[in-house]
């Protein structure tokens, strides 16, 4: 098997994640889908690392994880405060961008 298959898998997961972001209304699930997309990227990075024979890809993936962790912390805090004020975690309820 050619390890390039990992890349195909990564793009598949990424696309599924993206579709999830677009389809789901629950902010928590949307957030999970974002995490799925990040993980797909990480998989691709790890595969690239293997492809090139150096560890830079893994470093980037590592940083991605750290950033993702930070993002999750802040994002979930936002969801919690949104839920507290609106009693809903639906992203469609916050449609205040419309004039």
């Amino acid at each position: 098997m050619n390890p390039v298959n990992y890349l195909y898998l990564a793009s598949l997961l990424f696309t599924i994640g993206a579709a999830g972001v677009l389809i789901r209304r629950n902010a928590i699930v949307v957030f999970m889908c974002v995490e799925l997309m990040l993980n797909a990227c990480n998989l691709a990075l790890v595969t690239f690392s293997r492809m090139h024979g150096n560890l830079d890809g893994q470093i980037i993936a590592f940083f991605t994880m750290v950033v993702a962790a930070a993002e999750v912390v802040v994002g979930l805090a936002i969801i919690v405060s949104l839920f507290r004020s609106r009693h809903s975690a639906s992203v469609d309820d916050a449609s205040l961008m419309k004039l």
Partner: protein, 270 residues
């Protein structure tokens, strides 16, 4: 481990196809499950599989971190929030935005095809393998890079984490914007509102029980809503004892009847 070849072994291929399928199914389940908690669990499964793939690709450190940080910490955080929002709440999957689903599907399929076509078009044939890079150990290799080439990025990431922590605290902490009311003010407010001047009646008043889950009875024998906790009422965990008194009375009468009957029998026997 250091012998990780450029080409994957048959064992890895078998592992890829089986776990890859599971990962895709998990991802699909994540976006299709009605309950957020199910989605979270599916996602956790997918992440664990990804951790395995990391390990298979020679990223041992990342594989462990994936399990510890992602599935261990982040997904738990998700579950906490899910519980806060309501574990049992199920989302409706019915689309409310017109055409959103079709657009999303169209874009997704187009995007996926383009990505796959791009990867295929790139014609990646050669894989160098990490044998040489991992020669001194994967963690050591990463550490060497992090603390040399990527040291600034690493430090800045630390600052980012601190910021995120503070940010989360700021966002979730509800600051009290006014002074807390004193007891006196509360009682004055109660008088002003004009209801429940005396303290609420204790549960079980006029009843034969005084447990918290038993509503107190009003003089006419009906239960009073006020005497039990709202939580218990909503759970439907209130025991209605209004009929018990009557039952008791009936039992008493029956017992005294029996007693009287026995006395009469005794008298008759005499």
């Amino acid at each position: 481990m250091s012998a990780l070849a450029a080409a994957a072994s048959t064992g890895e291929a078998v592992q890829f196809w089986i776990l890859g399928t599971v990962a895709v199914v998990g991802a699909l389940s994540t976006i299709l499950m009605k309950k957020a908690v199910h989605s979270a669990l599916c996602l956790a499964g997918t992440m664990i599989i990804l951790a395995v793939f990391y390990l298979a690709n020679g990223a041992y450190f990342l594989g462990i971190v994936q399990i510890v940080v992602y599935t261990g910490a982040i997904m738990m955080l998700f579950l906490f929030v899910v519980m806060l929002v309501g574990v049992t709440a199920a989302d409706s999957l019915k689309e409310t935005l017109k055409g959103q689903r079709w657009l999303a599907a169209g874009c997704g399929i187009g995007f996926g095809i383009l990505l796959i076509a791009g990867i295929g078009n790139a014609g990646i044939k050669e894989f160098n393998g990490l044998g040489q890079a991992n020669a001194a150990g994967n963690v050591q290799g990463l550490a060497k890079l992090i603390f040399t080439d990527y040291v600034f990025a690493f430090e800045i990431t630390g600052a980012l984490l601190i910021t995120a922590t503070v940010g989360a605290m700021v966002l979730t902490n509800r600051e009290r914007t006014e002074r807390a009311k004193t007891q006196r003010e509360l009682s004055e407010q109660r008088v002003r509102e004009g209801k429940h001047l005396p303290p609420l009646p204790a549960p079980g008043v006029y009843a034969r029980h005084n447990a918290v889950d038993i509503a107190g009875l009003l003089p006419d024998g009906t239960p009073s809503e006020l005497t039990v906790m709202q939580t218990l009422r909503e759970r439907g965990q209130i025991r209605d004892v209004s009929t018990e008194a009557l039952n008791d009375l009936k039992a008493l009468e029956q017992r005294s009847e029996e007693r009287l009957g026995r006395d009469r029998e005794e008298e008759a026997a005499k």
